[in-house]
Symmetry: C2
Subunit: 305 residues, 2 copies
C-alpha cells in the first residue's frame, strides 16, 4: 500500500472518577490523516486545515509519533503525513491525540500492520509528550482501540477495553482556552485518603456499571470530589451547564480532559439531543460562544476511511 | 419458623488495591449462628465456643445487629442468639462481621425474610461499629451476598456483586494480635494524588479482570503502594510470606483486612494448596504459630445450614 487515510475520533478522558486513567471514543468530530509512502526518509507534514499547527515534524505531534514508529520499524523509506483537522486544538476532547493516533495507525498500514495496538499507543504518546509535556494514554488508548478504555499503566502500556451498554455523549465546547499548565497547577499534590477511597470506590462501581450495563449504577458513580472541585473554576458556568444536563435527563457527566469541554452521558441519542438543547439554552445566556456535539460512544477507534 | 441456624463465612476485605471498598467471601472457616424466637422481648446471647466474647447483647456485635433489625421490624417478640464461632476474633478475616451477619440473616428468616440484603448489611454494620468504632461494609457485604462485593457507599448502602472466574484463596493467620486502632493509626491521612491515581487505575483494572475472567490482569492489578507499605510492618515476616506465595505460583495477594492474616489468590485448588505449603514452610522458620486455610471464593454468603 502506498497511501491510506485514517479517521481518528475525538476522545473524552479524565472521565469524572476516572482521572488520568479512563477515556472513551466518540464518533465525531474526527481528524482525517493521510500517510503516503515516500522515497525520502523521515517524516514530512502537510496541513489541510486552518489551525496553523507546526509543519516541522519535530514540533508536530503526528510528526514525532510517526518518527518513533519509523525508528522502531527501522523503515528504509519515509512518510508524508497530510492532516485535515476537525478537532480544534485545546478543546479538551483529545485533539492532539487524534492527530497522533491517526498518523500512527495510517503509517502502520503502510508497514502492513506490523505493530500491535499497544505499540501504536506507545508511539502516539510521544505526541502527547510534545503537546503537554508528559506521556499519558487516556486519550490515545481509546482513540486507537475505541470504546471505553482503562489505562492501568503506561510503562509498560497496559490498557483494558471495557464492555459497555449503548451510551451517547453530549459534548459542549466553550470557545475559550484553558491552558493545560494551569489545569495541572490547580490540582492538589496531596489528597485526603478518605477522598481517594471514595474516588476509587466510585471508579470501581462505574466500571462494574459499564460491564453490567447498569445505567443507574453508572450514574451514581459519576462523582468526583478531587479533580472537579479543583478545575471547575477554570470553566465558566460549568455548574450551570452540568445542572442543566442532569435536569434534562443525562445519567451524569463532568469535565472532558482538562477542559474547557464538558460531557454528559445519556442512554439514547434522543435523550442526548435533549441534553444538548438544555445545555445550549443554559450556556447561551453566558455570552460565550460554544460548539456542541452529540455522538454515540463507539466500539472502534482510528480506522481506514 | 421458630428456629434457624445460619453459616456465615469468613471474608477477606481491603483486597490490596481495594482498600475500604472491596471484599470477598470464602467457604471456610465459618461461624454458625442460631436464632430462636422468644416470647421475651429483646435479644439474648449464648456462646457455644471458647472465645469468651461478651454475652451482654449491647456489647456483642450480633446483639446490636439483631437489636437494630428488631427495632426496624417493630417485632413483638424477642430473639435468642446462639453463636458457635469458628473464626477467631481479631484474625483479620471478618470474624465480627460473620457473627453479625449470621445473626441478622437468621433473625431475618424468623421474620419471613422481610428485609432485603441491603438492609441486612445496614444492621450488620452496627456490629462493625461496636467492634471497630466505625461503620464499614467491606466484610459484611460479601458475608451477606457472597463472592466479590464492591462497596460504593455505605450511606446509603450501595454495593455491587461482581462477576468473577474460579478463584481460590489461601489464607495464613499468624497467631498474633494486630490492634485495629494501631492498624488505623499507621495509615497516612493524606496521600500523593499520583499514588491515588495508580491505585484507582489498579482497582479499575482488577475489577475488569474479575469481570472478564482475565487472570493475568487480576494478578498485575494486585498492587498497593498506599496501605500495604504502611501496614506490613505490623505483620511479622509479611514480605517473606508474600514472596513465598508468589514464587509458588499464586496470582497475587496481600494483607487480609487490617491483618494479621494474609491471603493469596490462585486459579485452582491444587495451586492454592501448593501456595499454602510454600507459605507454611516459609513461616515455620519464624517460630510464630499460624493457621492456614484454603478455600474457593464462593458465590453465596451467609445461608441456612
Amino acid at each position: 500500500m502506498k497511501e491510506v487515510t485514517v479517521r481518528a475520533p475525538a476522545t473524552v478522558s479524565n472521565v469524572v472518577c476516572g482521572f488520568d486513567c479512563l477515556g472513551f471514543a466518540i464518533d465525531g468530530p474526527f481528524d482525517e490523516v493521510t500517510a503516503r509512502r515516500s522515497d525520502r526518509s523521515g517524516v514530512s507534514i502537510t496541513h489541510e486545515d486552518g489551525f496553523g499547527l507546526p509543519t516541522d515534524p519535530e514540533k508536530n505531534v503526528a510528526g514525532v509519533a510517526v518518527a518513533a514508529l519509523l525508528a522502531e520499524a527501522q523503515a528504509d523509506f519515509g512518510i508524508e503525513i497530510i492532516i485535515e483537522k476537525a478537532i480544534k486544538p485545546g478543546s479538551g476532547i483529545g485533539s492532539s491525540g487524534a492527530s497522533s493516533c491517526g498518523a500512527v495507525v495510517a503509517a502502520n498500514w503502510l508497514l502492513e500492520e506490523q505493530f500491535p495496538p499497544e505499540k501504536l499507543i506507545e508511539f502516539a504518546m510521544e505526541g502527547e509528550r510534545l503537546a503537554s509535556g508528559s506521556r499519558h494514554a487516556d486519550n490515545v488508548a481509546p482513540c486507537i482501540l475505541g470504546g471505553f478504555v482503562l489505562v492501568r499503566s503506561i510503562d509498560p502500556v497496559d490498557v483494558v477495553r471495557l464492555d459497555f451498554p449503548p451510551l451517547f455523549a453530549t459534548v459542549i465546547h466553550p470557545q475559550i482556552e484553558v491552558r493545560t499548565a494551569e489545569a495541572r497547577a490547580v490540582l492538589p499534590e496531596l489528597v485526603p485518603l478518605a477522598s481517594a477511597v471514595r474516588n476509587w470506590s466510585n471508579l470501581g462501581a462505574f466500571i462494574a456499571g459499564l460491564e453490567h450495563g447498569d445505567y443507574d449504577l453508572i450514574g451514581r458513580s459519576l462523582v468526583d470530589e478531587i479533580v472537579e472541585p479543583a478545575r471547575r473554576g477554570l470553566i465558566p458556568h460549568f455548574e450551570e451547564a452540568k445542572a442543566a444536563g442532569i435536569s434534562a435527563g443525562a445519567i451524569g457527566g463532568g469535565i472532558s480532559g482538562s477542559g474547557p469541554s464538558m460531557f454528559m452521558l445519556s442512554k439514547t441519542r434522543e435523550r442526548a439531543e435533549i441534553v444538548r438543547a438544555a445545555i445550549g439554552e443554559a450556556y447561551e445566556t453566558t455570552g460565550i460562544a460554544f460548539n456542541t456535539y452529540v455522538s454515540e460512544i463507539v466500539g472502534h477507534g482510528a480506522s481506514l476511511r
